[in-house]
């Protein structure tokens, strides 16, 4: 299953707006997308509760995985969200 590890750029991590954009993006793809700590359990990336519940801060690394036909595209898009400072989202 394609996956990658990305450093979270938005300073406040996966909360509020960045989390919101992240979940929205995950929902745009057919693939099943998951996110979680670099070496921990992954949760459903299309769930705002799960994503904010991870408590990921800016500067931390997360692992994202995707399964489905558009998996690579989904990962590209999510990596982009995670690499963009909050005020540019």
């Amino acid at each position: 299953m394609p996956e990658r590890v990305v450093t979270v750029v938005p300073e406040d991590g996966l909360h509020a707006r960045p989390a919101s954009v992240f979940v929205e993006t995950a929902n745009e793809y057919d693939s099943e997308v998951k996110v979680g700590p670099e070496d921990g359990d992954l949760v459903n990336a299309a769930s705002m509760l799960s994503v904010t519940g991870l408590g990921v801060s800016g500067g931390e690394k997360v692992r994202i995985s995707a399964e489905g036909e558009d998996a690579e595209e989904a990962l590209d898009a999510l990596e982009e969200v995670l690499s963009t400072p909050e005020d540019e989202l």
Binding site: R17, S20, A46, E86, D87
Partner: protein, 567 residues
């Protein structure tokens, strides 16, 4: 009846008077019926319908908030919609329904589990608990057919009292009707506080449980400056607060009683402040702090991004002037990607223009190029560039030379540009002493009173132990202001003031008497200051200023001002 005073955290420098309306949106649910009486399919359908209705409400509220407050504040509703549609919530509710609960109980129970989970976490996570409660209450209300207590249609002069106000609650408050709000919980950075500032509503938060003693309908003064809530106020207290509240919003420029036009502008910290400043009647922007463009990010904004921001500001004030202060960082304002030195006295260290002409000269170039280009845009407003923390004539000459040099570069590159007005912030005693020599170099001065008071009095701002010294009514500060204005007299240089002092309507007459042409302040006090300008006669003001300038102590200055108000 004696006054009762409650202390909280004031979040806007405004006062309001009105009558208490307790807002308690959460209705307790009755006990759930016997599971055998619950039709699971029907309940699931009810839940889905309620979810659609709630989503529509949220979308409407998002739109309204984006219009009235700003896109950033509206974004919170996106998160609400996502919680509403969250698969964990949907699954949870459906499970509870399958176990025999009616939809509203299933919603309550499912959300509460997550609320509890988020409440136990720190900082930003605890805020998510608030969002979840907000979504939960909305769904439960829709399901139980309850009308929302319509905060948007309260009687004029209502002061909303609540345990706490959610973003949805605050978004409904209509500043035309609501005289202010007070909450039991909350801090300066809570959603409610941010909304209060954006909407220019008097507000006090975090008063604590004792607020619950206050009865519905009681008369109350909300003092957002001192963070006080005064119940059953004495006539004098009430009058003082009511007078402040009366200032109407004037969107046209104002003049003194004897016809001298005075520009009253707003200070902005972020692009989101532009709209509210215009709504409060600011004639332009007297201080556009550009730090926010550079903070909280990994690399500096490029020329294009800055250009667009400046043009946005000019479009917002297409009949006015926008004074952009070049990047003022150093010492106390850390930025990761700038290599700022560790200094023993950051306030006296490498900051403001000192960095722009030194280690940050690349950033300075990008910023000046963006400003030169913005000055040529057809956005309407007039652009002015202002240098922070100037203390020598050479600094100003050097900065001016760079501006002209970059203009030449743009010319060669065939890019449109125009030379903006060029000025300095007078905030060091050196700049005030050298003002006469600076007049040949600049189009304007803007006196930054917070820093000027700090440096003239050698009393660090923000250090409460020396707050008495750092007060801008100290005679030494007044004399530094006068020296600056005097230097500009008889020249084309105009003199403005940005900072807390300019926004104090009790001092407007004095400032006009000292000879200022422009006053710039946080948007909330623009109407009061405009009002004060129209009530000022410049002849009287000059006499008042003379008296104040001859005072030898701060107490004497205050006495001169008080006596003047009484007569």
């Amino acid at each position: 009846m004696t006054e009762r005073r409650f202390e909280g955290i004031g979040v806007t420098p405004l006062s309001g008077v009105g009558n208490v309306v307790w807002y308690a949106p959460d209705a307790d649910l009755d006990d759930p019926p016997d599971p055998s009486e619950v039709d699971a399919d029907a309940e699931t359908a009810r839940f889905e319908e309620a979810r659609d209705a709630a989503r529509e409400e949220l979308e409407r509220e998002r739109e309204r908030t984006a219009e009235r407050v700003g896109e950033d504040e509206a974004a919170v509703f996106d998160a609400h919609v996502q919680f509403l549609d969250d698969p964990q919530i949907t699954d949870g509710v459906e499970e509870q329904i399958a176990e025999g609960l009616p939809a509203e109980h299933a919603v309550q129970r499912t959300f509460d589990r997550f609320v509890e989970q988020f409440e136990g976490m720190e900082g930003r996570m605890a805020e998510r608990a608030d969002d979840l409660r907000d979504v939960r209450d909305r769904l439960v209300r829709v399901l139980s057919g309850g009308e929302r207590v319509n905060l948007a249609e309260l009687e004029k002069g209502s002061v909303v009292f609540a345990e706490r106000l959610t973003p949805s609650d605050t978004a409904q408050l209509d500043p035309e009707r609501v005289a202010g709000f007070v909450t039991v919980t909350g801090g300066r950075t809570s959603h409610a506080a941010i909304f209060a500032r954006s909407l220019a509503l008097p507000a006090v938060v975090g008063v604590g449980e004792e607020l619950n003693e206050v009865e519905d309908g009681a008369e109350v003064v909300v003092d957002g400056t001192d963070g006080e809530v005064i119940v059953d106020p004495a006539e004098e207290t009430r009058k003082a607060a009511a007078e402040e509240e009366e200032a109407e919003i004037r969107s046209e420029p104002v003049a003194t009683a004897d016809g001298v036009e005075i520009e009253v502008a707003g200070n902005v910290g972020t692009a989101a402040d532009l709209g509210p400043a215009a709504d409060r009647g600011a004639d332009g922007i007297g201080l556009f702090r550009t730090e926010f463009l550079f903070l909280d990010r990994q690399s500096p904004p490029d020329e294009e991004e800055q250009y667009e921001t400046y043009v946005d500001a000019l479009e917002t004030f297409s009949d006015g002037r926008v004074v952009v202060r070049t990047l003022d960082v150093g010492g106390d304002k850390p930025i990761d990607y700038l290599d700022l030195p560790d200094e023993e006295n950051p306030f006296l260290g490498e900051r403001g223009i000192r960095r722009s002409l030194g280690p940050d000269s690349d950033l300075f170039e990008t910023q000046l190029r963006a400003l030169l280009r913005a000055a040529a845009s057809d956005a309407g407003g007039d652009l002015a560039v202002m240098l922070p923390l100037v203390s020598t004539v050479e600094e100003v000459t050097a900065a001016r030379e760079r501006l002209e040099l970059f203009a030449d570069d743009l010319e060669r590159e065939g890019i449109d540009y125009a030379l903006p007005e060029f000025g300095v912030m007078v905030e060091t005693p050196a700049a005030a002493f050298m003002a006469e020599d600076l007049t040949s170099q600049v189009d304007f001065f803007s006196i930054g009173t917070n820093d000027l008071a700090q440096y003239v009095m050698a009393a660090e701002r923000g250090n409460e132990r020396v707050a008495e010294l750092g007060d801008y009514t100290q005679p030494a500060v007044l004399r530094a202001i006068r020296a600056t204005v005097e230097a500009a007299e008889g020249t084309d240089v105009w003199v403005g003031m940005c900072g807390e002092m300019a926004g104090d309507p009790d001092l407007t007459e004095l400032l006009l008497g000292l000879g200022l042409d422009e006053l710039s302040m946080s948007a909330v006090t623009v109407p009061q200051v405009k009002q004060a300008v129209t009530e000022t006669d410049t002849g009287d003001a000059r006499k008042l200023a003379e008296k104040a300038l001859s005072a030898g102590t701060k107490d004497e200055v205050r006495r001169v001002l008080t006596e003047n108000t009484k007569s």
